[in-house]
Symmetry: C2
Subunit: 191 residues, 2 copies
Amino acid sequence: MKYLEDVIRNNGKVLPGDILKVDSFLNHQINIEIMNEIGKEFANIFKDTNPDKILTIETSGVAIAYATSQHLNNQPVVYAKKDAHFNMSSNCYECKEKSYTKGIDYNVKVSKEYLNKGEKILIIDDFLANGEALNALLTICKEAEVEVLGIGIVIAKMYQPGYERILKMHDNLHILAKVKSMSNDGSIEFE
Amino acid sequence: MKYLEDVIRNNGKVLPGDILKVDSFLNHQINIEIMNEIGKEFANIFKDTNPDKILTIETSGVAIAYATSQHLNNQPVVYAKKDAHFNMSSNCYECKEKSYTKGIDYNVKVSKEYLNKGEKILIIDDFLANGEALNALLTICKEAEVEVLGIGIVIAKMYQPGYERILKMHDNLHILAKVKSMSNDGSIEFE
């Protein structure tokens, strides 16, 4: 998605530690117009899949899934929660996620009330690096016996293991901006 | 907001421990149509304030602030983060928040890049009970020297101290559904 590559080049920052900082528009401050274009693009990619629900993971996936739903068919968005939420039903699907950026483990949870056996699910998230969050979501979907129709990711670092790992688990995987390399001078190359 | 009171009566659940569970449409599964109505209502309430940005707090505030922005003027939505986020700039406004529902303390953070002195801010969040999250956001706004134009909250438990506490800090406080009482049989009374 050329538009998004330009947005990332103009608004993203490459930080030491192989970090691509996009929090000026994607995951701390949200630019509504950009999010809307992202949602439109995912809706176009997945328009023939006809999902019952969109599944994402807190926090940065929420606005993206929301925008996508608005351009599809206003399907409910379910967001997986990280960590133990005290007033969440104990009746949850759970999976461990190792976060490399934050250096800690999360417990990813989705209430059994909101994933019903046989439902058709579209998974949407912001980043794919090592694939830990997506692995957790796919594991939960398998346990819940829902059908994953596709996976849409805004940005993937293609030189990290996540893309190949997730592709082996699910082949209808779409990435809007495929980062081929980033250098310390701030330049970003896309595939 | 009569519409929302009906939604809460039909879809909310009263759980032991004075918990109003609305995660079937508001804060785990998101109902896009309901969120859209909430956004429309906030936009109508605050249409003359003309904010530069909408500030909320992760995770449940994000979709509400997003929907509100879409019905106002597509202002950027900034969401405060809870806890220490490893790859977030150390250049942050911070405030401690005590969460009664989760029994733990959070560090509420907003990057200094996304609150600029003199900006006009609308604060949007899902719940007001003890007012801890709003207190943290207002404290951060004061430190950032931004001007808070108004506060919009979806649901407040009016019998808890938060409403009076926050009203003393900021008087343009609007609540869409004011819960007067809840009983163990599941009935909910609104003001």
